[in-house]
Amino acid sequence: MAGEEGKVDPMKQFEIEPMFGSDSWDVAGMNIAFTNSTLWMAITTILLVVFVAGGMKRELVPGRWQMAVEFFTGFIDDMLDANIGKEGRKYVPYVFTLFMFILFGNLLGLLPLGLVGVHPFTFTSHFTVTGVFAVISFSIVLIVGFWKHGIKFFTLFVPHGTPLPMIPVIFPIELISFLVRPFSLALRLFVAMMAGHVLLKVLASFVIDSTNAGAGFGVLVGIPSFTLMIGISALEILVAGIQAYVFALLTSLYINDAEHLH
């Protein structure tokens, strides 16, 4: 749709396109085309490896880069320590990877690379992707919970001090709220990322269309819209960090439930 009649389609940015003629790559009947989404996952992976590898000089007095990497590892380590306790240490690799992968994916999707003709793709704005993160986190909770506590894991759904007659009512409610967790995890990130990007594109279309309609409209509508875009871009950078943090924080809280049963 974009390009036709000079209109901007705010949803175009979420379209997945196979690249390098890989449309027909199949494994066991499943299509695994290398898409633009895949490309940005690969970029995220490479940048993340480069970023953390740059902080591996292991110097006693850290430089700026090492400081930055240690800030992030320390941040996750402290978060897990505060929410889970000393058992949280063993989840640092997973939660760190999760947090950094989402954070880098969010931030890379916000890069203004459109100026040089490259279109960044925010893979965290697809619920197929956020869903996979949520399923992994939820699987860890289930596996750890049943591994450590066996059938007693179900006592998670009966809070302490529940009167006996209330258990048949409380148990299904708690169970449902537990089962909703992966969906809320996945949807929260996907919706937040998509909403921000759509808003930016809609405002961008205001700027373009109003300017095309005449100089007066351009000044009246285009300039305020552009000012708003600058502010919302800053907000989106904040949201990118917050959503990655929220995902990691909730994962650690859920793991805490599995480790300690309240």
Binding site: E15, N31, I32, A42, R58, L60, G74, F123
Partner: protein
């Protein structure tokens, strides 16, 4: 909404590649690098804690030495003060002795002088009596024309002078 419109064609590719790249990141970064970074941090924290402990113990040792020095210093000062007090006492005793000696000499001189004065006064008194007796004899001879003997005159003068 492409997320839903393209769901059926793309979900397998999305999930597959996400698992591939997330897996690579997890094993290379999460499992490979992050523990080393955390080790470095905890190593540094340990070193800082050790250094701080060493500094604290050095400070404690310095404090102890200062305390010992203070005790020694106080002892020395006390010894010095005892020495001074001793010397003072000795000096005072010496002075007293010298003063006593001088006093003794003065007393002796005084007594001697007093003796000499007494002697002089007695001899002067004797002379005055003799002169007075002669004067009495002369006065009586010239005024009354009577002659008195010397012992009588002496006796009368002695009675008049000593009352």
């Amino acid at each position: 909404m492409p997320q839903i419109a393209q769901l059926l064609e793309t979900y397998s590719s999305q999930i597959f590649w996400l698992l591939v790249f997330f897996g690579i990141t997890f094993f290379v970064v999460g499992r490979g690098m992050v523990p080393k970074v955390l080790d470095t941090v905890s190593l540094r924290d340990k070193q800082i804690a050790d250094d701080l402990a060493a500094a604290q113990s050095a400070r404690d040792a310095a404090g102890e030495q200062e305390e010992a020095w203070r005790v020694r210093e106080n002892e020395n000062r006390a010894a010095a003060q005892a020495l001074i007090a001793d010397a003072k006492a000795k000096a005072a005793a010496n002075t007293e002795k010298a003063l006593a000696k001088a006093q003794e000499g003065l007393d002796a001189q005084l007594a001697e002088a007093e003796g000499r004065i007494e002697e002089a006064r007695n001899s002067a008194m004797g002379e005055i009596e003799g002169v007075a007796a002669e004067a009495v004899q002369d006065i009586l001879l010239k005024v009354a024309g009577t002659k008195v003997t010397k012992p009588t005159a002496n006796k009368a003068v002695k009675e008049a002078l000593n009352g």
